[in-house]
Amino acid sequence: MTVTDEAVDAATTTAPVMSAVDVVKEFPVHGGVFGRTIAKVHAVSGVSMSVHRGETLGIVGESGCGKSTFGRVVLRLLTATAGRVELGGEDTATMPNKQLRRRAQMVFQDPYASLNPRMTIGEVLSEPYLVHQGKKQKEVVDEVGELLQTVGLSPEHRSRYPHEFSGGQRQRIGIARALAVDPEVIVLDEPVSALDVSIQAGVVNLLERLQDERGMAYLFIAHDLSVVRHISDRVAVMYLGKNVEIGPKSEIYNRPRHPYTYALLSAVPIPDPKKEKERRRIVLTGEVPSPIDPPSGCRFRTRCWKATDECTTDEPPLRVVAGDDPGHLVACHHPE
C-alpha cells in the first residue's frame, strides 16, 4: 500500500528517496520454564510511508506508539518482521551494510550516550571517512574541520573529548557525524527533546539550513508537536503501532481528521494564557492499551468518544476524506 505516493508525486513529480511498505515489527516475549515465546509485542503493525528529497516527514505519537522502532527498522538497525524498505527504489534488505549506512544515517536522542567518551571529536568525525572512503585520519583533517564549521562549531574543537561539550554542542557533533557520508536520508529520533528551548532553537535552525543546502530527506521522529509543526513538510501520526493519519502539516494541524490527532493537538499547552482559556480541550480518558494484545478493529476505539460497533470489527484503512487534500489520509470510520 503505497498510499502517500500519488499525492506527493503529484506535488514533487519525483520518486521518493525512501519508502517503507507495510512494515511490521514484532518483538517476542519470552517466559515459562523453557523461555519459549509466549506472546508478541506488536510494536509496528503495517506502516507505509515515504519521504522525498529535501522533504521532512515528521512522525509523532506518544510513548509506545512504535515511532522509534519504525525509525530503526527503516535503517535496518532492527530487522523488520515483514514488509520492506526501499532506498532510491532498491530494497534495503539485500543491500550491503556499508552501502546502506552511507546512504541513510541516524541522529540519536541522547547526545551524551551516542558519542564514544574515549574518542576525540576529531576521531569521531573522521571515522565515517575511514570506513567509507578508506582514507587515513591525517588525510581528512580538512574535511573534519569543515564539518565542524558546517554545524556551527570551530575546527579547533577537534582535539576535545565529548564531555567538554554542552548538550546542544554534542547534538551538533552527532549531526556532523551523520553528514560526513553525505547521506540521502537522515532519521532523527527525538533530536532536540533533551535540549533546553533556547538551545533547541539553534539546533532546529541548523537542521533546516543543512536541508536547504544539501537537499537530504529527514524522517523527524518526535513527541513534541510544536517542534514537529515547525520543522516538517508532512506529518504522520502514529498510535499503537499504526499510522492513523498522514498529510501535509497545515492539513494535519488545521484540519485534523482522526479523533486521536484531534485530542493530541488539543492537549498541547499553548504559551498564551488567553488562547489557553478559550480552548476546548479534549481530555482522553484511560491509557494506551498494551501492544501485546492490541484492541481489535481500530486500535484507538477503547479511548475514542466516537467509537461504534463497526470500529470493533473492522479495521479502518487509510483513505482520503472527500474534499480533502489528496495527500491527507486518515484511518477512521468516523472522521472529524
Binding site: V197, I199, A201, V268, P271, E276, L284
Partner: protein, 352 residues
C-alpha cells in the same frame, strides 16, 4: 503589595553546594511569595536553580554539603535552621511535594495504599482503618478506577499517569496548605499530561491549597499559573502575573525564551531565534546581570556587566549612570531584573 502575612515568603535565598571544584552557587538571592489560592509557576531551564529553590523550602538538601542563606518564611516562621522534627511536621503535613518521576518517588516494595496510610498516620492521629478508608477516598478522587482494589496494588502495577495521580492523592491526603510540584508532568505523554494537570489544578483548588509549580514548559505555565517567576542562573529575573508575562515580557531572557519556542498554533513560517551562547557555570557566574554575556541589548554603560539589577525598581538604590530615568512602572508588581528594561520592546518587534 499587601503587608499581610504571606503563606510562603522566600527572601534573598542563597543555596550553595560544596563540590571538589568549588562552591556551586545554585541559588543566588531569590525572592518569591505565594498567597493562599495562588498557582505560582517557577520557570527556567536546566541549572537555573528552580528545583533547588523548591527543595530548599522543605529542607531537602544534604546538610553537610550545602550552605544556605536568607529566609524562608512559612506562615511567619523561618524554616531555614528550623529543627528537624519541626521540618518533619511541615513536610507532607503542611507542605506537600510532588516529584517529577513518580516511579522513584514511590517505594517499590510497599503497596501504594500503605504509603498513603503511612503518611496519614505520621501526620494525623488516625487509626489504620480510618487511614485506609481515607487512602481509598483519595485514590478515587484523583480518578484511579476501582480504588478499593487498587489501593493494595504496588507502584509497578500502575501506569505512569496513574502513578502520578497516586502521588497527587498522597500529597493531598493530609490537606496541605501548599503543594510543591517539581516538573510533575515532564515524564508523561501529552494526553496524560493534560489529564494530570487538569486534576492537579481542580483538586488543589477544591482543597484550598496553593501550588508552586516548577516547570520548564511555558505552555504549561500559560494554562495553569496565575503568577510566574522566571529564573536564570540562580536568580529570579522576571516576575509577573501570567497574563502580563506573556503579553509584555520585559526581561531580555524571557523575551528570548518566547522567541526561541516553536508554537503548535503557528505553521512556523518564521525562523526560531535561539538565545546565543551557553548558560553560565554556576561555579563562577558572570558579574552583574548573569545574562549579560548572552544578552543582545547589554551595555557596559548601563552596568549590565558590573552590577546586579534589582527585580523591582523600588529596591533600586544605586543609579549607575544618568541614562536610567526609569519607567517607574513598578506599581503593577511586574518586576524585571534588567538595567535596560525600557529597551526590551525593541527585541519584541522581531517576531510580532
Amino acid at each position: 503589595m499587601s503587608t499581610s502575612q504571606r503563606l510562603l515568603q522566600i527572601e534573598d535565598l542563597t543555596v550553595g553546594f560544596k563540590t571538589e571544584d568549588g562552591l556551586v552557587q545554585a541559588v543566588r538571592g531569590v525572592d518569591l511569595s505565594i498567597d493562599d489560592g495562588d498557582v505560582l509557576a517557577v520557570v527556567g531551564e536546566s541549572g537555573s536553580g528552580k528545583s533547588v529553590t523548591a527543595l530548599s523550602v522543605l529542607g531537602l538538601h544534604p546538610q553537610n554539603r550545602t550552605t544556605m542563606g536568607g529566609r524562608i518564611m512559612w506562615q511567619g516562621e523561618n524554616l531555614i535552621g528550623a529543627p528537624e522534627d519541626r521540618l518533619r511536621r511541615v513536610r507532607g503535613g503542611e507542605i506537600a511535594m510532588i516529584f517529577q518521576d513518580p516511579l522513584t518517588a514511590l517505594n517499590p516494595v510497599y503497596s501504594v495504599g500503605r504509603q498513603i496510610i503511612e503518611m496519614l498516620q505520621a501526620h494525623r492521629e488516625m487509626s489504620r482503618q480510618a487511614a485506609k478508608a481515607r487512602a481509598v477516598e483519595m485514590l478515587g478522587l484523583v480518578g484511579i478506577p476501582q480504588p478499593a482494589r487498587r489501593v493494595d496494588n504496588f507502584p509497578h502495577e500502575f501506569s505512569g499517569g496513574m502513578r502520578q495521580r497516586a502521588m497527587i492523592a498522597m500529597a493531598l491526603a493530609c490537606d496541605p496548605k501548599l503543594v510543591i510540584a517539581d516538573e510533575p508532568t515532564t515524564a508523561l505523554d501529552v494526553t496524560v499530561q493534560a489529564q494530570v494537570l487538569e486534576l492537579l489544578v481542580d483538586i488543589t483548588r477544591e482543597h484550598g491549597a496553593a501550588v508552586m509549580l516548577i516547570t520548564h514548559d511555558l505552555g504549561v505555565v500559560a494554562g495553569m499559573a496565575n503568577k510566574v517567576a522566571v529564573m536564570y542562573a540562580g536568580r529570579v529575573v522576571e516576575d509577573a502575573t501570567s497574563e502580563e508575562l506573556f503579553d509584555a515580557p520585559t526581561h531580555p531572557y524571557t523575551v528570548g525564551l518566547l522567541r526561541s519556542l516553536p508554537r503548535v498554533d503557528s505553521d512556523g513560517g518564521e525562523q526560531l531565534i535561539p538565545i546565543g551562547g551557553q548558560p553560565p557555570s554556576m561555579l563562577n557566574p558572570p558579574a552583574g546581570c548573569a545574562f549579560h554575556p548572552r544578552c543582545p541589548i547589554a551595555r557596559s554603560e548601563s552596568g549590565c556587566d558590573s552590577q546586579i539589577p534589582p527585580l523591582h525598581e523600588s529596591e533600586q538604590v544605586t543609579v549607575v549612570t544618568g541614562t536610567r530615568l526609569g519607567s517607574g512602572s513598578d506599581d503593577s508588581g511586574h518586576g524585571a531584573a534588567c538595567w535596560r528594561r525600557d529597551e526590551t520592546d525593541s527585541l519584541l518587534g522581531v517576531r510580532a
